[in-house]
């Protein structure tokens, strides 16, 4: 069965980003039915669809909504996470640029289900063009009665506010996002309390990823059963996979869960660039453990199968290493990222990311000591599960997996008698230690 296009159905339609174009393609058609449904019925429908969050953690969406207190005098809020910062991820951008009304329609579905009157869309600061497209769509939606007071005579009011970030990966974490939205540094909050109880402005808050919300119109139109029929027992529906690195045709590809990982990559992108050999695959963003070529060929692309390898589906950011890609330098790039983005409030994260980066940098620049590899492996466990957010884990997990699976490459850099052959780009620059 060909994969149905759920999220990407309108990506190639030239005018889908305008209200006129979206309506012509059947957009907003589900609203009539939606506003006749009771909020609990909508939550049930989303629960039955099996939809899980596409921002990284894969948490069941309907269940998340049901944690919001029903009897509260406080306003409730929706925060749409459009901060898209996980390295390798570039799919929310496509939704924002090409199908922003699907996001708005999804927001209406969530707001009606949970009883929310205000939704904030937190969009990363560098997304100029997506912001322009989204801003135009929101304006059009207001002008035509799809947002604002008494939407299409339903008695439902929903306001959407676009809030622009200013360059900080950590604001993608849901509580970092909330802090940032409140006008502070984006430093994550300890949980509990969870955002569902005490979220933005001290009120119950749903935080959902752009893609998660954009899947809702299809689910409400076609029904939970149709969605749940796609994929596997626990990984239902489709997901947008951002595939990049050393493949022939990088890009965003929608896929149903349960297919073979490498087959999916190969069929979507044409395989490894220039007919080179496959070395490794990162299946779910730079926070994920790495898979060897053999593992990538033998695993299925769904939450449980990937998790069983120690890696994760995460945000669906697949990165492909060819035979020439240096795993040691790749780890250096990854660790530099996390050391740079740590918000600094938890010592295991602040110190751990810094030292892991320092050590891999000295290994890669020929200053490594034989005991450095085990030193790194000893640091990693101390960074797991003991910090306010999982950024520390996101550095430690790839570090340990790159080293364990490609240890000989790290050793080669330390063996002074036999330094590895370096395939630097001609204009290549060696990054300097400490130059975070």
């Amino acid at each position: 069965m060909a994969t149905p296009k759920i999220i990407s159905a309108r990506f190639d339609e030239k005018k889908a980003h305008t209200l006129e174009g979206y309506l012509a393609l059947g957009g907003y058609a589900t609203l009539k039915k939606l506003f006749k449904m009771k909020p609990d019925e909508v939550i049930d429908e989303v629960k039955r669809s099996g939809l899980r969050g596409r921002g990284g953690a894969g948490f069941p969406t309907g269940m998340k909504w049901s944690f919001i207190p029903k009897n509260t005098d406080k306003p409730k809020y929706l925060c749409v996470n459009a901060d898209e910062g996980e390295p390798g991820t570039f799919k929310d951008r496509l939704i924002l640029e090409r199908d922003p009304h699907a996001l708005i329609e999804g927001i209406l579905i969530c707001c009606h289900a949970v009883g929310i009157k205000t939704a904030y869309i937190y969009i990363r600061g560098e997304y100029d063009f997506p912001l322009a497209r989204l801003g135009a769509a929101v304006k059009e939606a207001y002008a035509n009665g799809y947002l604002g007071k008494n939407i299409k005579n339903s008695g439902v009011d929903v306001d959407v506010v676009i809030h622009r970030g200013a360059g900080a990966y950590i604001c993608g974490d849901e509580t970092g996002l909330i802090e940032s939205l409140e006008g502070k540094k984006g430093q994550p909050r300890p949980k509990p309390p969870f955002p569902a109880i005490v979220g933005v402005f001290d009120c119950p808050t749903v935080v959902n990823n752009v893609e998660t919300i954009s899947a809702l119109p299809w689910i409400m139109t076609n029904g939970a059963d149709a969605y749940a029929a796609i994929g596997t027992e626990k990984s239902k529906g489709t997901m947008l996979f951002s595939i990049s690195g050393m493949v022939e045709r990088p890009g965003v590809y929608e896929g149903a869960f349960g297919v073979n990982l490498w087959k999916f990559i190969e069929e979507s992108t044409g395989g490894v660039k220039g007919g080179k050999k496959l070395k490794a695959v990162i299946p779910g963003g730079s926070s994920s453990a790495i898979l060897t070529a053999e593992e990538a060929r033998n695993v299925n692309l769904d939450y449980e199968s990937i998790a069983a390898t120690g890696a994760m589906v995460g945000s669906g950011a697949i990165m492909v290493f060819d035979e020439d890609t240096c795993v040691v330098e790749a780890l250096e790039v990854v660790l530099r990222f996390y050391a740079h983005e740590s918000c600094g409030q938890c010592p295991p994260c602040r110190e751990g990311t810094y030292w892991l980066y320092e050590i891999v940098n000295r290994i890669r620049t020929g200053r490594g000591r034989p005991e450095d590899i085990d030193l790194m492996l000893a640091i990693c466990p101390d960074m797991l599960g003991r910090t306010v957010c999982v950024l520390a884990d996101s550095a430690a997990i790839p570090a340990a997996s790159y080293i364990k699976k490609f240890r000989s490459e790290f050793e080669a850099y330390i063996d002074k008698a036999n330094p590895p052959e370096r395939k630097l780009h001609p204009g290549g620059i060696n990054f300097e230690a400490r130059a975070l």
Binding site: P87, F90, E126, F129, G167, I170, G186, V252, L424, A435
Partner: protein, 179 residues
């Protein structure tokens, strides 16, 4: 967090929102239940108005939102896109993360360093260009890439970047070279 900055001195130039931004600022206030939440959007207005954010602008935003000045300073310091010094006319943000690394951002950095004579964090003496290495910009499928003049430049090669830089130098619209 690790973008430690030196204490910045007042510019000596008073700041106030332009009439345009005053109107935008008035529209922002009702969108949030607290004044503090308006700090980021107000700082964006200030930065768009002057190209960077002066101490005076921070103090102004704090006053307008009835916040302690330190709350605004802390925000400016935390976020990499808020600039406390003028950038070049064309501010190059070159991505250095995994996919752009695999696809050779190093060559592009090499070109910038050779051709413009500036490294990361530096500005050309004529003020035309400044250069910064940044983390993943969510455009990995079209790596290597950069952000400049509030837009993305994707699928870069050394040749293409050179054409873009030349166009800027010659006062032409670099968009014509984006092919």
């Amino acid at each position: 967090m690790s973008h430690a900055r030196h204490a910045i001195a007042p510019s000596g130039k008073p700041f106030a929102f332009s009439p345009d931004n005053e109107a935008k600022f008035a529209q922002l206030l009702p969108k949030y239940p607290t004044k503090r939440a308006v700090i980021l959007p107000a700082l964006w207005l200030a930065q768009e108005q002057e190209g960077h954010i002066t101490v005076e602008a921070m103090e102004y935003v704090a006053r307008r939102l009835e916040q302690p000045a330190v709350a605004v300073f802390a925000v400016v310091e935390f976020y990499t896109m808020f600039k406390t010094e003028p950038t070049g006319k064309h501010h190059i943000q070159l991505c250095r993360t995994l996919s752009c690394w695999m696809r050779g951002y190093q060559d592009l950095q090499g070109l910038i360093e050779r051709k413009l004579g500036i490294g990361p964090g530096e500005k050309t003496p004529d003020g035309k260009f400044s250069f910064e290495l940044v983390e993943c910009l969510g455009s990995c499928g079209t790596a290597p890439m950069m952000r400049m003049d509030d837009r993305y430049w994707e699928n870069l090669t050394v040749e293409k970047l050179e054409r873009i830089v030349d166009a800027c130098n010659q006062g032409r619209d670099p968009a014509g070279e984006d092919h």
